[in-house]
């Protein structure tokens, strides 16, 4: 028992031990043991609140054998059929067994199964559900995604909510008792509150703080990592720019909720506001540039390169430790549009560049940068060539005027 991490060690074995969500629990067990109108049930709700646990606990209580398909091994329709079909039919063999009622199929985290390309997957699951004689249970965090729609139609939906704080406190207290660690009530409350109703994270935090202690006090948990919330953009930027070393900045980065593309752009936006000294700004920008280069290289799925992006990002914000002066962060990242031109002008320009592109075998972009500047000079010179060119490119009067007038 002692070689288990606490979340496994204290994972409820029976339905009664699962805390919170009483309605959902009742609804689920009812579905499982009474005559099932729907062949499948979909348990959904945030992470770490007991969905998967409940399935195993119920299987234990009502003597089912769980066949689980985990997000990581399912990819395509074919793979799904190969794994699930035998499980579904195997039930006929086990039906007369005294030991178990037979199989129960758990498709865990169905919202995380399908990549863009694996669209056949949902269809395969629908088919399996329709032909199944055994209970099928699906779980998901988020069911508001388009591709789950066909599943929602044929499943009995049961919603799970965050577990209430007092229940979590009581649960943590029981663990402390079992571990023989006296704990102050406030300490457990802080842990529970910080978990935002995610029991699993509360247990993990508890273990983290208890590991090195004989007794758990309120003061011990003051510096609890903001594991569930993570840093928003302002916390992240402020934390990174005010960090005293790149290691410290990296810690913030690791706890940030912001995706690194947004972060790259935001640091880029704010860098010159932070560094007033051009020399330091140059060094910082050099590091940011490298972070961006590695970001570019990841495009070919070299995810291990991500650590270099983070490394350089952390460096870029900590070139001048101790010099942080609060400033108003630029956020969200500046999106640039073709603001300076009127839309009529844009249309005209596009027409001209398309004409040039067709005649000279270049893109509109190249036409714009390689031909337009020269054509403008030619057209300002009212020459024979200009009128010939206008004819050749089939430019109308407004285009010609544009070339003559604009700089």
């Amino acid at each position: 028992m002692d070689n288990l991490m606490w979340v496994e060690k204290y994972r409820p074995k029976t339905v009664a031990e699962v805390i919170g969500n009483e309605d959902a629990k009742a609804s689920f067990t009812n579905w499982l043991i009474k005559k099932r109108r729907e062949k499948a049930v979909l348990l959904y709700g945030p992470a770490g609140i007991g969905k998967s646990t409940l399935v195993y606990a119920a299987a234990h209580d009502f003597k089912y054998n769980v066949v689980e398909m985990n997000a990581s091994d399912i990819r395509t329709r074919k793979a799904i059929m190969k794994m699930a079909a035998p499980a579904v039919s195997l039930s006929s063999l086990d039906e007369f067994s005294f030991e178990t009622k037979g199989n129960l199929l758990l498709l865990d985290e169905v919202d995380g199964i399908f990549g863009q390309q694996d669209r056949g997957g949902v269809g395969a699951i629908v088919k399996i559900i329709q032909n199944s004689r055994i209970p099928i249970i699906l779980t998901a965090n988020n069911i508001e995604i388009q591709k789950l729609r066909p599943l929602k139609k044929i499943c009995h939906l049961i919603r799970f909510r965050r577990v209430r704080i007092p229940l979590i406190v009581a649960f943590l207290r029981r663990i402390c008792q079992a571990e023989n660690i006296p704990a102050e009530k406030e300490a457990l409350e802080i842990l529970a509150q910080n978990s935002l109703g995610d029991v699993r994270s509360a247990i993990n935090d508890l273990q983290t703080f208890c590991e090195s202690r004989k007794i758990l006090r309120k003061d011990d948990v003051q510096f609890i990592p903001l594991r569930n919330r993570g840093f928003n953009i302002y916390d992240t930027l402020k934390g990174m720019f005010s960090a005293n070393s790149s290691v410290e900045a990296m810690k913030i980065l690791n706890n940030s909720l912001i995706d690194y593309d947004t972060l790259l752009l935001s640091i880029h936006d704010n860098l010159p506001l932070h560094y007033k000294n051009p020399e330091k700004l140059a060094i910082a920008y050099e590091a940011l540039s490298k972070a961006d280069v590695f970001r570019g290289r990841i495009q070919n799925e070299e995810w291990r390169l991500l650590k270099y992006v983070f490394e350089f990002l952390s460096q870029s914000t900590t070139i001048a430790p101790g010099e942080f002066q609060p400033f108003n962060f630029i956020f969200p990242p500046t999106k640039r549009y073709l603001l300076m031109r009127t839309s009529a002008e844009r249309t005209l320009l596009k027409t001209i560049c398309t004409r040039i592109g067709a005649k000279c075998h270049v893109s509109q972009k190249t036409a714009n940068s390689e031909y337009l500047p020269f054509l403008k000079i030619i057209f300002r010179k009212k020459s024979d060539q200009a009128s010939q060119l206008a004819k050749w490119l089939r430019l109308d009067n407004s285009s010609i005027n544009y070339l003559k007038k604009t700089n």
Binding site: L273, P278, V293, R336, K359, V362, K365, P373, I377
Partner: protein, 334 residues
């Protein structure tokens, strides 16, 4: 369209056969070998800097393989204008599937996909299947500036040809040839100056020449003419931006950079080129500093080619320029 009627000199003097191509001996020789047995020719990928003859050679091949009616059997698309997967699925796929088996004189249809490095990676992924399934009815000539932006599975399906920048003396020779044909007076120094400003890009060189000819209207084209034309052709904004960066006002410089990209529609590579040129007109830089600066530009140019974010890279480059500012140079000397 008859090219002899062309008024833009880049078109008028665009080679019509492989034999007229300037430089690129090796490329031309291997291509000719392929063309002797067209049936076995693989898909081709041309990579190289702008204005080195990539599109020209693709068109030469089309004409040689498909004859006078080449336009009916070649699909020429510029991926910079249509970048997405839709272009591949709707235009390329449909075209490449259509069989021309009945036309004995034509071995297969050609798809010329120009500026391929602008394609999204999902578009490239969509393309890779098509290249295999249609290989008996169709060949692809893919053209790009940077082959690093082409996904590996596509590169592996192609014979790759790298186009080196044209030799300076050959560009001079070609310019003199055009000048002769057009009966214009081109001073030798002027030709050299054009070469300097066009960095091996023959399209740019020819455009500068044609514009200078209009500018002087029959008079001799000299070095001053070129400087004026090139000066007028590059936006003032670039100089202003450089001055801001050099004086350490990065936020202003960066705003100007954004304006250049939005108002003028310049790409990152365009801007680096223009900056590069402008910087070397700066008087206060020593030979050593210039050498160092070339290294910096080269590095950032390369980073752009690796698919990095243009805003970030160009801003970072501007930030590096403070190290070359006039005031700093003075204080270092004193």
């Amino acid at each position: 369209m008859n090219q002899n009627d062309a008024v833009m000199w880049t078109e008028k003097y665009r080679p019509k056969t492989l034999d007229e191509i300037v430089n690129l001996k090796d490329v031309v020789e291997s291509l000719k070998a392929f063309l002797r047995k067209p049936a076995t020719m693989p898909h081709l990928l041309f990579a190289g800097r702008p204005g080195t003859g990539k599109t020209t050679i693709a068109l030469c091949i089309a004409k040689q393989l498909l004859g006078v009616s080449w336009r009916s059997f070649a699909l020429e698309l510029n991926a910079s204008d249509e970048r997405g997967i839709k272009m591949v699925r709707e235009r390329v796929k449909t075209f490449s599937r259509y069989s021309r088996g009945s036309l004995a004189s034509i071995p297969y249809a050609l798809v010329i996909l120009d500026e391929c490095d602008q394609m999204t990676s999902s578009a490239q992924t969509a393309l890779r299947r098509i290249m295999e399934t249609s290989s008996h009815t169709c060949r692809f000539i893919l053209i790009c500036n940077y082959s690093s932006k082409i996904i590996e599975p596509i590169q592996s399906r192609c014979a790759i040809f790298r186009f080196s920048t044209l030799k300076q003396e050959d560009v001079v020779k070609h310019l003199k040839y055009v000048a002769e044909m057009e009966h214009i007076n081109l001073h030798s120094n002027a030709a050299k100056t054009i070469v300097e400003f066009s960095e091996g890009d023959l399209r740019r060189a020819i455009n500068i020449l044609q514009t200078s000819a209009v500018y002087e209207d029959g008079k001799m084209i000299n070095e001053q003419t070129i400087l004026r034309v090139v000066g007028q052709a590059s936006p003032k904004q670039i100089q202003l931006m450089l001055n801001k960066a050099l004086s350490g006002k990065l936020i202003d410089a960066r705003n100007m950079l954004y304006e250049l990209m939005t108002t003028y529609g310049f790409s990152g590579v365009d801007i680096i080129r223009q900056m590069h040129r402008e910087l070397f007109r700066l008087q206060h830089l020593s030979q050593k500093e210039k050498a160092e600066l070339i290294g910096v530009f080269g590095e950032y140019d390369f980073r752009l080619s690796e698919g990095a974010n243009e805003d970030i890279q160009l801003s970072a480059l501007l930030a590096q320029l403070t190290r070359f500012s006039e005031s700093r140079g003075n204080s270092a000397n004193g």
